[in-house]
Symmetry: C2
Subunit: 242 residues, 2 copies
DNA sequence: TATAAGAAGTCTTATACAAGACTAGTTCAT
DNA sequence: ATGAACTAGTCTTGTATAAGACTTCTTATA
């Protein structure tokens, strides 16, 4: 009855079309981090929708953390700085809630075959992954030992970029247009076994926190798996539930 | 120059007025949990704004978790069920991500003077608090020992409501119109001392997870402090970062 | 039991105007 | 001549409104 027009009628609302367009442009690198987006009016004219519809799309993107907006200034692709990345995805805090600056003490990277679970959970079912092992020191005696895994297909040439900085997510965005917007974590308390105790420089059997994280980008792709072993006596891991 | 009209010109936008009106009605109990709100059109007419403005307010309230909306059905005050409360604020998950049902094994409540930090951080700077100690069992050998603290002024007569159910937040809402919408948590790994080991029924020195939580209601009041000691070998604590 | 019409709700889109931010002049004092 | 301060203009996002489409549920009817 209503399929009179076999034409270009998409079954999704117009603002969703606008959202998808912008997300594609950011993910493809056409819109670089920090770049200014077209204004609501321009964007609407460009895509054949009203300013209000373009606006609704931009607000949605802002809430998803992909862009930042300011009245009178414009809309900009959110730029991942070391500060913002640490603030959002490195949740260790000092006693007074202040944010410590982790110091990279050791780091090594290699390419290896993906494990079964990595192939199953990471984007594109990768056969090969880059594995980054590193040790980070916090003020005082606290330490973090991390094992990071990313698909080689998503981050080609990552191995040649060594030494990698403290905040990997900045590299993901700036070099690969991959913006991490969400991460799911599983935490469990643990007694340090021999290997991790040695890596962390603590006694075997000490209580540590193990965190398994899967990070997702703007396209909702699982782009990274990461396991952290945290020895925290003077710091706590802070999160907000909603 | 512009205060020609000493009248009813609030310096906040109209949609904010609508938001505050609804929040007040919910917090005062005029709108009970599960109750249907006026439609966008009705609400707009009632408060002298357009349907679109009322709609903007309702969408904001939905995102804050205060109401639930469904096209064609209407808008309803979010009802805290044992399931939703556990899903949102009890983050322990089994190996497969399935949600365990904790079993209340022991519980006791008493009224006592508030500690300095409780007076400082909780709403209304209470002098007296109710303290609830309880032990919850998970499938397998995992256990949770909790110490919950709430101001007596906010929850008068809570002591007479014993035995309290598994999910306190349902009681807060149904009996006191206090909807917990957010919680901030600090986690740290710990070796169980003698007292907590006894409470949890484990050996002293075993690794446990300590979580200090402050819960906030719809009015952004700190309504509860809670410390949990978690013995988790077969479960993990799952959160999402953004 | 199935179907259709209607009522009541939210959802989408468009338009008008207000308010903030930046720029380019212009003015005025030095 | 130079520099600071003001101002008008223009570009941006923010707020408010209205009209019609779409969804869900109920009720009447075959």
């Amino acid at each position: 009855m209503q399929d009179q027009t076999p034409s270009i009628k998409p079954d999704r609302p117009l603002y969703q079309v606008v959202i998808d367009t912008i997300v594609d442009r950011i993910a493809s690198g056409a819109l670089q981090p920090g770049a200014m987006l077209p204004s609501e009016t321009q964007l609407g004219a460009e895509l054949g929708v009203s300013q209000g519809t373009a606006r609704k799309a931009l607000i949605d993107l802002e809430q998803r953390g992909l862009v930042q907006r300011a009245q009178g200034r414009g809309t900009f692709v959110r730029i991942q700085t070391p500060e913002s990345a640490l603030f959002n995805f490195f949740r260790l805090r000092g006693r007074d809630g202040d944010r410590p600056t982790p110091v990279l003490q050791h780091q090594e990277m290699r390419q290896r075959a993906a494990t079964e679970i990595e192939t199953k959970t990471l984007h594109n079912a990768p056969k090969q992954v880059f594995e980054i092992k590193r040790l980070r020191a916090l003020p005082g005696k606290d330490r973090v030992h991390e094992i990071v895994c990313v698909p080689c297909t998503l981050f080609p040439g990552l191995k040649d970029r060594a030494p990698l900085p403290n905040t990997l997510y900045v590299v993901y965005q700036q070099a690969y247009s991959c913006i991490v917007v969400r991460a799911e974590e599983q935490m469990r308390p643990l007694a340090a076994d021999a290997a991790t105790a040695r890596a962390l420089g603590i006694a075997q059997g000490e209580s540590i926190l193990r965190i398994d994280r899967v990070a997702y980008d703007a396209l909702d792709r699982a782009v990274e798996r990461r396991t952290s072993f945290i020895h925290a006596t003077e710091h706590s891991y802070d999160v907000t539930l909603r």
